[in-house]
Symmetry: C2
Subunit: 142 residues, 2 copies
Amino acid sequence: MNFTKTTSYSLHVLAYMARHENKIMSASYLHRQLDIPYSYLRSVLLDLSRKGLIMGVKGRNGGFCLGREKKDIYLSEIVNATEGIDVLNKCIMGYEKCPFDNVCIFHSAWTRMRDEILDILENTTLADHLNSTDISKSNINQ
Amino acid sequence: MNFTKTTSYSLHVLAYMARHENKIMSASYLHRQLDIPYSYLRSVLLDLSRKGLIMGVKGRNGGFCLGREKKDIYLSEIVNATEGIDVLNKCIMGYEKCPFDNVCIFHSAWTRMRDEILDILENTTLADHLNSTDISKSNINQ
DNA sequence: TTAAATTGCTATGCCTGGGTAGCAATTATG
DNA sequence: CATAATTGCTACCCAGGCATAGCAATTTAA
């Protein structure tokens, strides 16, 4: 009923990096800032680095920064790099194809959400996301 | 992003039993009808039986039937018997509490769906479900 | 009475997501 | 130069969902 933690961690990290562009951040720093288990964060960062979403800088004072400009990284790419966006194509009953032939009572609620989420993922860059959450942060009604 | 297969199997089985009330069905029969792996179906049925949702009848010609009348079994009970309805209380990012303080861009799409699904689960009995899918089946627009 | 079909129950295995740990290579700092 | 801090990489562990297999007990049918 949700994204994997790996996806969540990745979105966290990349959103944080977008908010502090051009700053190189080490795994231990990100660990302290984002409260993600250090060792696992290491492996997530390695993976994102291999996939080009971030760039690793070795050596003392090394760390990671965005692999591209924040306006050029779409959220869908991040999900694709972790669990793959295909999760959204499985019906809520866990099958590729709805076992109730799309007439199950959850279907409309489910597809509506899926379409909205897909739309967000495919049309939001890290830069957009930054703006949208900034607006939200200034809204008391949370 | 979806219910576990165990939940899906359970909903399948119970919906099928509701559609053929008062008939005793063996695991191997249900396996053939619903295309659920036999051995795993056995363990699912055992579990549902222990939890009172179905009743086992031993011996040759034995099998299972609904543990209560179909109008008295709510879908929420079934989900609770398998993975627990709490899955719906985790945010889409996989946490108990949304790590973005409820301002993440998926939040409204997600909560809307969750509320709808919860409403369906808590207010639909197997009997209701039967009617709703019957209506849908007669609808060409699928 | 014997065999077949069934549930009740338990032990086991596989896979994946999540997580840990350590070593080599690299780089900056004292 | 020596040491500290870092990434790159690999091996490993654990839990849970999914799945299989087999044995005992029960009941029916031949």
